[in-house]
Symmetry: C2
Subunit: 240 residues, 2 copies
DNA sequence: GTGGGTCTGTGCGCTGCCATACACAACCGT
DNA sequence: ACGGTTGTGTATGGCAGCGCACAGACCCAC
């Protein structure tokens, strides 16, 4: 348990809490490292902490019996990992994995649940966030059904970049393929296509976005739907 | 506003409410017809009522700019249509359409919201249901990514049958195709295949399930994941 | 700098679903 | 009984993504 003041401004949800509520959390909020690949919670296992990513990204993915996987949603500095805690189920049939290394603020589930049940401000903020997350999942389903790998890669890159600071992402094509639930070779082709169009630069696990508007033009409507819904449901944040 | 006693036992969520809470709702619960194709709520439009299907099924689907569609989740007598009301957003970027005609119990959003904010029993029940719904959406995304049309049709049939009484469904292949987001011809082929295997009988909009265990054996793991999660999260109901 | 692991690019045949087009059968009203 | 509408079966060609196999390119450790 740390005593030094924790900077809470890195997470949009946390920094949207009423100050008096936040004050109660501060002593228990712990800044933790979230290395690439860390499993934040496992499918079907009761979560003990919630995590507020600061400069990391956490991917919620379902792992099938045969080992294949598919991303369901992604959580970054706009959200919280572990909604099952306050939704009442305690666990979910999917896994949360750190997709982009960084740090996050961790809070014990007990404190979170108490706050949720006591403060209607906390409750309503968390539920609005959850609704946004639902939209992201729904749109993932739609996108998986109807759109090309090319478009999905654009969507995925944009969603990820929205949840980070810079314009660079550390992520191999293999990992992206796991997230999208496609073959690595498919990602290679799609990424090459984006690179040839001058939208990104890709080199051994380092992706740099060169032309964000270009990506936005190339992706499907799904990205926009999700983006707009997050903007609508969550308190505005000063332009980053 | 009806005065005759409304039978609430047809909906699992409603009948799981504490009796004293339910008593407050009774005067305002209205039994309404839900004909095939009725749009319960429209994408982006604030919902004014919630609906508890009794012997109808409502499909949540996203309609794309080009008119194509994809089902995100399905709600029957185990659930409620209009979660955006208590989640705080008021609306969602998808449409709710009656997929199987029947009746439902309608409640004004105002009353629902008040109950949600006042009664922690109502709140927790609704949130647990919402978590189950989230799982269904997540699994839809996974299924869309990885599984064959054949398996998806099985999943869809099973999910639908779980939400109805008998073993018959009134539904053209065209409509099923809209839900699954595939071509009608694809559904024809898949349905023929199931029919040849003796699992269903199909005739001009009438589907009869002949061999439920057979369907369960043929579908993907997605159905089971969703089924188990609904069973886990929602209060047990006497065997139907 | 050399060798081994990691990451990316490429080729090939295969399959599942798409788009289009059309045949036919069942039902429905008059 | 008849013609239109609705629902279902079938064929043909095409394409996106898959599975597999392998080649090169880069990076790091020794």
């Amino acid at each position: 348990m740390k005593n030094k003041p924790v900077d809470v401004s890195g997470n949009r949800l946390l920094s949207s809490l009423p100050p008096e509520e936040l004050a109660k959390w501060l002593p228990d909020l712990e800044l933790v490292e979230m290395p690439l690949g860390l499993v934040v919670y496992e499918s079907g296992v009761t979560v003990r902490h919630v995590y507020f990513p600061v400069d990391s990204i956490v991917s919620l993915l379902y792992v099938m019996e045969d080992g294949a996987s598919a991303e369901i949603a992604v959580v970054g500095n706009e959200g919280i990992v572990g909604i099952a805690l306050f939704m009442g189920g305690g666990s979910m049939p999917n896994r949360a994995v750190v997709q982009s290394a960084g740090r996050g603020l961790r809070l014990s589930g007990k404190i979170m649940t108490e706050a949720f049940n006591r403060s209607s401000a906390v409750l309503h903020l968390m539920l609005r966030y959850t609704q946004a997350l639902i939209t992201q999942m729904a749109q993932t389903a739609v996108c998986n059904r109807h759109h090309s790998l090319d478009q999905q890669l654009c969507r995925w890159l944009l969603l990820s970049m929205d949840r980070l600071r810079g314009n660079e992402l550390i992520m191999t094509q293999e990992l992206i393929a796991n997230m999208l639930g496609v073959r690595r070779e498919g990602v290679t082709e799609a990424a090459l296509s984006l690179q040839r169009a001058g939208l990104i630069r890709y080199a051994r696990g380092h992706i740099t976005v060169l032309d964000r508007p270009g990506l936005e033009a190339r992706t499907c409507e799904c990205y926009d739907v999700v983006r707009k819904e997050y903007d609508r449901l969550l308190p505005a944040i000063e332009a980053s």
